[in-house]
Structure formats: C-alpha cells, structure tokens
C-alpha cells in the first residue's frame, strides 16, 4: 500500500498538479481505498496543520521582505554594499553577495531576496559590461544565503516539522551563512580576475559615510530580531511581526511607501505564504498516513547496515536531495520529503539542528540547478538570458556551495557552535 501511495503521488506530481492538491488527492485515494480512515479526519487534520503559532512567523517574515523592497530599504542596503565592496575585484558581484547577506538578516526567503536585489542590481551589472550569464548566476547564487542567515522561513517550517527550537536553528545558520558568503566572493574574485570584469572606483569617504548612515536604521533590524529571540524578549513569531512593522515604519519614514500601497502588498504576501501553508495543511493529512504506512521505517531499512553511520547517512541523504532538488522546489521537498528521513537521521545519532541547517543549504542548491530551479528562473528572466548561458557561469558557484555543504555536513561544530555559545547546551 505504501508503495502504491508513493507511486500515485509521484504520478500526480509528474502530471503537474499543484503539489498541495497532489498530496491531498493521494490522501483522498488512500482514505477511500483503505476504508479505515474516516473522511472527516481530512478536514480536521487540515485545520490542525495550520493551527500553529510558530508557523505564523512565515507570513510576517515574507511581509518584512516585501515591505523592504516596497519601502526603499533594499535600495539603501545595495548602496551601502556598493560603497563597501564595489571596488574589490569582482566589483558589482561582490556588491550582490554582500547585499544579499545583509538582506538575509531581515527577510526569510531566498526567492523574495533574489527578486528584490536582482531587480535593482541586474540592470547596472549589464550596463557595466558583465556577461548576462554571470550576472544571473551571481544574483541567483547569492540569494541562497537568505534562508541560512537568520531569520528564515525554511527554519521555521523545519523547526515545526522536526519539533526543534527555531531559535537554535536561527543561531545555527549564522556561521554556515558567513562561510557561504566568503566562498562565493572568492569564486567571483577568481572569475572576475580571469575575465577582466570591471570594478567600480573606490567610494569616497563621504559617499561611504552617507551610504552607511542610510543603512544604519535598516541594519538595526537583524540585531533586533536575533537579539530579541536569543534574549528571550520575543518568540520567533513575534520577532517576525516586529520586523514587518519596523520595515513598514521605515518605508513610511523614507516616504517610499504609502498607506494605499499596503492592501496590494498584504494580498501578495498572503498568496505567497498560503502557497506554503496550504501544502502544510494538506500534508498534515498525508503525513499521518505516511507514518501509518511505516514509510520512514522502510526507508531506514533500505539504508540497512549503514543506517548507524552518521557520515555515510549524510552523504547519501545529501546526494538524494541534491538530485531531487533538480526537479522539485525547495519548500515542497522540505514539507513532504524531509520528514520521511527524520527517523533515519535521528537513528544515526545526527543532531536535528545540524541536519536542519545542512538540509536547508542542500535545498537552496536545488533552487539553482536546472531543469527546475526557482532562483535560476527569476535571475535568468531579470538578465534576459537562457539557461545554458546561466549554467556556464553558475557551476563554479554551485560547486563552491556543494563544498560548503560537505564542510558543514562533516563538521557539525560549524552549525552547533553558535547555538551552544548563545543559548547554552540545551
């Protein structure tokens, strides 16, 4: 039965039925076929699936990101980043990476960051003569730090699925996020040097000063979010609301956001978050069935003798998810497939915080790899370039990110050091 169920779901996915509806129809088929699960269960579980205070952080982190770009905050951060690193070899590519790292500290979504920063930075990059393929590649790759550097909606979802502390996940993402940024700047340095790409003139002290002054108010936000969560001042959900509210006030203060813009912004965010939340709701029905049919245990069985070796388990899981990531988006994979692997991960003695951070990085790489990759699509469209051209320039970045993934998979300390330092050993 379990295999038939999995087969039905994969068939529906392949038919391009939206993921949430495919999972829902599979559950429906199961309930009707097995006859031992009453239908009202479906309705009850769907509501229970989103009846969660921690998941409430999702719409508000997305709202913060949307208000940042609508309210002119992103623009100011980009200006700050260009004054800071625009003159280093790699020029605007460094600006893209640094701007994304700073934005990552306020918004929780790679896709939102890529569209916001990409829209601002792609035109000047093309105009200064960077190859379009490189422009798209660096914008897409840099956005992968978004969900690793806290806050992160991926961590919020994983935290609620794996029942671990979102705050610890947030803290765990800090070091891997910084490593990713440095590695990618290294890659762009090498490519830029070889290709003789232009770089900006060093910003005058005055420009650096005024750009920094403009960025101070937005830059307080990441510290408020992390400081507030770590200090127990507020929960991750409350920090998301505070971040969104702060971004809104700044937008009004900069006079770039008007009250009458708000309904459209809210509606857009509502749609984007419901896309995730509806999958979560429907999966609460399917997730129960998966457990019922003992699919996770079957998976552990499949790993057989190596199921107790954490290194090998991580190697295989990373390969499986990098492959799946080529065909599926990160969030459906996170909600639908990752939970099936959790018993295996737990059984191998892998720390669930460590796993959460590394699997999120893994799924972010999936957003860059063809044929299906959300970040790739967005940035290719912005730079008006084809996928082949993108891949030509993106592979060194993808390779660098895979090296970082291997690094943080092999050394749990890279993830676990910060939560232990900031929040004690549990």
């Amino acid at each position: 039965m379990g295999m038939i169920l999995l087969g039905t779901m994969l068939l529906l996915f392949a038919m391009s039925i939206p993921v949430a509806f495919a999972v829902g129809l599979t559950s429906l088929v199961y309930m009707l076929a097995s006859g031992n699960v009453p239908l009202p269960f479906l309705a009850q579980r769907m509501v229970a699936g989103v009846d969660s205070f921690p998941l409430l952080a999702i719409p508000f982190f997305l709202l913060a990101g949307e208000l940042m770009s609508a309210g002119g905050i992103t623009k100011r951060l980009v200006r700050f980043a260009s004054a800071l690193v625009g003159h280093i070899t790699g020029g605007l590519a460094n600006v893209v990476i640094v701007a994304n790292m700073v934005m990552a500290g306020m918004s929780g979504s790679a896709v939102a960051d890529a569209s916001a920063a990409g829209a601002i930075l792609t035109p000047p990059m093309l105009k200064s003569g960077y190859p379009p393929g490189f422009t798209a590649a660096v914008n897409a790759s840099a956005a992968t730090v978004g969900p690793i550097i806290p806050p992160s909606i991926n961590f919020v979802i994983y935290g609620s699925l794996a029942e671990v502390s979102t705050g610890r996940l947030f803290a765990g993402g800090i070091i891997p996020g910084l490593i990713m940024g440095l590695y990618m700047m290294g890659v762009s340095y090498v490519i830029a040097r070889r290709g003789q790409y232009p770089r900006s003139a060093r910003a005058s002290l005055r420009e650096l000063g005024s750009a920094t002054a403009g960025a101070i108010a937005p830059m307080l936000m990441p510290f408020t979010i992390m400081g507030g969560i770590l200090g127990g001042v507020f929960t991750p959900t409350e920090s998301a609301v505070v971040a969104a509210f702060y971004a809104m006030l700044l937008g009004f203060f900069y006079r770039e956001l008007r009250v009458r813009d708000l309904p459209q912004v809210f509606a857009k965010v509502m749609v984007n978050s419901s896309v995730v939340l509806f999958i979560t709701a429907v999966f609460a029905v399917g997730g129960w069935i998966v457990a019922f049919e003992k699919l996770p245990q079957m998976l552990t069985g499949l790993f057989g003798p190596i199921a107790k070796n954490p290194i090998l388990v991580l190697v295989f899981i990373n390969i499986i998810f990098l492959t799946l990531g080529c065909f599926m988006d990160a969030l459906p994979l996170l909600i639908v497939v990752v939970p099936m692997f959790l018993p295996l991960v737990r059984g191998a003695g892998i720390d669930l915080i460590h796993f959460g951070v590394l699997i999120t990085l893994n799924l972010m790489i999936g957003l860059l790899t063809p044929p299906v990759g959300m970040l790739m699509y967005i940035c290719c469209r912005l730079a008006n370039v084809g996928i082949e051209e993108f891949v030509k320039y993106a592979w060194p970045f993808i390779a660098a990110l895979i090296v970082v993934l291997a690094l943080i998979s092999y050394f749990p300390q890279t993830v676990l050091f910060m939560p232990r330092l900031l929040m004690g050993t549990r």
């Binding site: 391009s16 205070f53 409430l56 409350e238 509210f245 419901s274 509806f278 999958i279 299906v372």
Partner: protein, 171 residues
Amino acid sequence: MSRVYRALHIVIFRVGVLVFAILMLNILVSIAARYLDLPITNIDWVEETSRFLFIWLSFLGAALAVERSAHIRIDFFARLLPARARMVLEILVYLGMVVFAAVMTYEGALISMRAGDRSPVLLIPMSYAYLALPVGGAAIVLFALRILFGLVTRWAQGEGYVDASGQVEAE
C-alpha cells in the same frame, strides 16, 4: 457571470487583507502590552485569536493563489508535451483541483456544523475556525471552475495550451 467573480474576488481580497492586518495588530498589541505593563496581559488570549485568524488567512490565501495560478507545480514533464496534449493535461489538472477542493468544502462544512467544542481560553466555538475550510474550499472550486471553463472552451476550438511565458508552442 464575470460580475459574480468580480464580487467573489473583492470579498476574498478584502476579508483576507483585513484578517492579515488584524493579525499583525493583535500580536503587536500583545508585545506592547507585555513590555508597557498594559492591563491586557493575557497572552493566551492573543495566541488563541491569532491562531483563529491565521487559519482563515491560510485558506483564503490558498483561494487567491488559485485565482492567480500561484500554487507550486512541477511542470518539468508537462512542458515536454505538444500544445494540444498539454491542453488536455491542463484540463485534467484543474479537474483534480476541483475534486479535492469539493471534498474539502463538503467535509469542512460537515465538521463546522457538527463541532461542538470551544477554544480553551475564550470559549469561541471551534466551528468558526473550521468554517475557513468550506469558505476557502468553495472559493477554490469557483476560481478553478472558471479557469477550467476557459481551458475547455479553448480546447473545443482546437487551440493548444499557451504557456505562462506567453508564447504559443508549436504543434
């Protein structure tokens, strides 16, 4: 017919945005209350109303996402099909969505009529939370039916599926 859809869109849009705004205000007030020692310090109260509003937000948003074709799909294989076959597949996709949303509406309506339990703190009937399911579900059915109707009409006229990028694929 299009006037009915216009009205439906406006209602879902406005109620959704309102729910979102109240939700935000609700949590902001609770944080303020905690740090400014305002008399309304019962956090359970906020958490409960927030969860009710959040359930509504999720299902109303899911309906708007159907209207905007925003739900995540894996269209890798579908893109390989010729335009006419793709059109038939697209019709099947929307039929599948209508079926699931119809079950969701029916079962949601039953459970919101039957559920007698109340929330622990405010004693709000849980029916009000469950009601989001049939309302959101019915809106999904209606929005999906409209898209389905358009697809079937174009299929009957012998047209192929036009991809979101706006290019008509060669047959």
